[in-house]
Amino acid sequence: MADVTLTVDGKKITAPAGTLLIDACRKAGIEIPAFCYYPGLSLQAACRMCVVRIEKIPKLQTACTTPVAEGMIVATDTDEIKQSRKAMLQLVLANHPLDCPVCDAGGECELQDMTFKYGAADSNFVDVKNHREEQQWSPVVYFDRPRCILCYRCVRVCGEGMDVWALGVQNRGVSSVIAPNGGDHLDCEECGMCIDICPVGALTSDTYRYKTRPWEMTHVSTICTHCGDGCKTTLGLRSSSDGMEIIRGDNRDKSGINGDFLCVKGRYAFDFANHKDRLTQPLLRNAEGKLVPASWEEALTFAGQRLHEIRDTRGGEQIGVIGSNRATNEESYLLQKFARSVLGTNNIDHHRTADYVSFAKALAGQEQRAASLREAETAPAILLIGGDPTEQHPMLAWNLRTNVRHNRARIYVVNHQEIKLRRQATSFLKISAENYSAFTRFLAGEENSIFGAEATALRETLATEPNLLVIFGSELRGAAIEALVRYGLSLPDTKFACLGDYVNSRGAADMGLYPDMLPGYVPVQQPGAFATEYGERFPAAPGLDLPSMLDVAARGNLAALYVVGSNPVHRYGVAAASLKNTFLIVQDMFLTETALLADVVLPIANLYEKAGTVTNTYGDLQLVRKAADRAGVRTDLELIVRLADTMGADVHALVPFGQGTRADMGQSRGAQSGEADRHAVWLAAQNLEPKLSPFDPSALLDEIQRLIPSYSFSRLELFAGNDQHVQATSKNNALVQISNLSQRPDGVLPSMDTLFTSGTMGRYSSKLTEVHDSRNKEILVAAN
């Protein structure tokens, strides 16, 4: 829309017509306070804090509901306005307890800030304050009624934002009160958005309440370790007796790919890190067959020597490696490089949750066809086939809902279940679970009598959508993905997104945790540059996939298995006896079903305790920063390097560290004496060493960027904390023919996680378990 010019406090500002005055002012650096106004939510005009004087209008106006107009002359900072705001604050404070010293919000409370600013500490209201006891509404949410200032932010974010509608306002006037949908409790998705958005301390979380004060924490923004959306989360940390403990997770600074959104997992399910069963020392199986604590030296030397021996006597093809969906790109890359160049095996795989290989193949030769998570918020039309974003990709679901609300986006849902997002959908087509593949062919024009008039109408509508975003779940694999992408490419400017389950499932795939695919989806048979990169031990033939490795192990023909951050014994239902002839090394946080069978167990750091990068399921690459710390654990990266070292491998060939970069460790004389290189100090503070040690992930990122052409992005942007979108394959990859893909088993086993589960790790999150159990109890009660 055309710009209009107006004058605010004597300053000329311009804003597009239709902009709200409050936004226009804030953009121009003129602060207008508001409790109830919240960008992205509907207007409330309840708090009257944003009042301004507009010339020729007799009364003060709310800037949050006034659109800018040409020639408007506005005053925002006069004595009259200050007095009005002060009076409003006095009203709000009339029954607001002055318990700031014990309130969770103290120090980051918007009401506190405003009271300081407008000096409303004195009051004409001398009546006794009306106290009410706090109430627990759910395992997560607590409500402190007297602190509530009735801004309605929680009501709106829960309803409009989350489509949960669990909060309302009841009664009238001074008796008004926020009320939960269950009468005395909440039946909701436990996302904690209401707590996060509360400007005061009326809504508090069970996880954080009364634990600390905001200024006593350090804050580190990193990436949530749970689902494939990879939300940015800002962790509040405090030192504890054995490291740095995570106290809080939120994204209040609205930075990153998710703005201020986080789901229950991102906000509260970091507590697995402090679970009492967390392993903090290596374990070795002794002569009696029991796992007993050992020193790092013992455990690594033993594991390395055994692997060395097995490789040299029985060959690399008798060794298997299973990688992780939650390790960083650098670790996954290193793991497969270690397998291929040190162990001499292509028997490497991971728990696959989506068919990224077929997706990469289908998009080979295309540029910019894979969509970022951000595009779900802006695309004019979305085709969602399969998947259940509300349960498995909460951030995607949030973006889709926002898109419908703000831009009237059209969402076409095709699913075998009545997923919740159908409520925002323009159309919902139910198909049976086995018909996804047939449906993709139907879209492409193949007639099929199982699809009726509704499906035909959908196909015709889609043909008129010029900028379609096609998002598909793990129901679609192999030929179905190819058919869908081929169909999408026949429409103008279609983009695609493939939904996988965990934070770095896509990264694991991109980094080549496959027996037949190298990093960047380069087939093992045509390794190109990798042939020389990975040295003499790199086998030419593809290796065994995960189920085959387990089968071979059961037949007694897998001499060693190295499992990094994965629990295949549980996930694939492996009988304990089938691994008895295999030398098993497991790196994990907990004594999982797999770790219990291991000969060597190495305790590892989780994603919150290390640095690197992860790629979400849409291909958004983000920086992982080390936040928490735990004595006694090490990163996967370090352990792989140390294992290679004890095996006698050339660590310099494995990790390109210490090449060409030289840190200035400080001058011995002169004005700067004693000061180390400031760059090195900064890097160290970010836990990014100046590539001087083999444990520096950025050394591996160099190699990843060098060998995977599609991983081209701005390092500056990445290190500044911005997400960088990468494609599955680059245009150059098109030259490589991926052969025989149609016969290749996709090996996808969706995790089937819900909002309240998160693989094996989720079981160790007390809060997630508590929420999950309380929900199940409710369902049982309802059923009875």
């Binding site: 509608w165 669990a166 309302g168 009841q170 009238r172």
Partner: protein, 170 residues
């Protein structure tokens, strides 16, 4: 807000009222516009807005029961607890107050032996002090259920109450 069509389910209301509700929800551009009349009619039929009525009205409109309660709790006219057979509403707003409304209310309290928002043990009368009922020209005024009684004195009030008491058995 959800746009799903409401499920067909057995109704707790009379068939006439159910039919009326069917018409009401289709009458306005937005279904929820029918909420307040529906609540009022439900109250008229059942004496107060029951939990079952809230559930059914929510289902008929396609909103959450919480949404219904948000609106319901705003209006003092709508109630969630039973009242007496005859609900005596005494206005004490400005016109009535100037003409003895407050005294009339005190008189009713004494006569019936109950206070504001209370019901007599036999369930015949309940009493409520209300805001303006729009009968200022004939103040002081009292509304019993939907019937108005105006220009009242203490004696006239007693007569009115006695008449209702006589009717109560019938």
């Amino acid at each position: 807000m959800t746009t799903e069509a409401p499920m067909k389910a057995p109704t707790i209301f009379s068939s006439e009222l159910a039919a009326r509700f069917d018409k009401l929800v289709a009458l306005y551009p937005a279904r929820r516009s029918a909420l307040i009349p529906m609540l009022l009619y439900a109250q008229d039929e059942q004496g107060y807005v029951t939990d079952a009525a809230i559930e059914e009205i929510a289902r008929r409109i396609g909103i959450t029961p919480l949404d219904v309660r948000n609106v319901l709790s705003y209006y003092s006219l709508l109630r969630t607890k039973p009242v007496g057979k005859y609900h005596v509403q005494v206005c004490t707003n400005i016109s009535c107050m100037l003409r003895g409304g407050q005294e009339l209310f005190e008189h009713c309290k004494e006569h019936l032996g109950i206070g504001h928002k209370e019901t007599t043990p036999d369930g015949v009368f309940s009493l409520e002090e209300v805001e303006c009922i729009g009968a200022c020209s004939w103040a002081p005024a009292v509304q019993v259920n939907y019937d108005f009684h105006d220009n009242l004195t203490a004696d006239a009030m007693d007569a009115v109450l006695d008449q209702y008491r006589k009717q109560a058995g019938k």
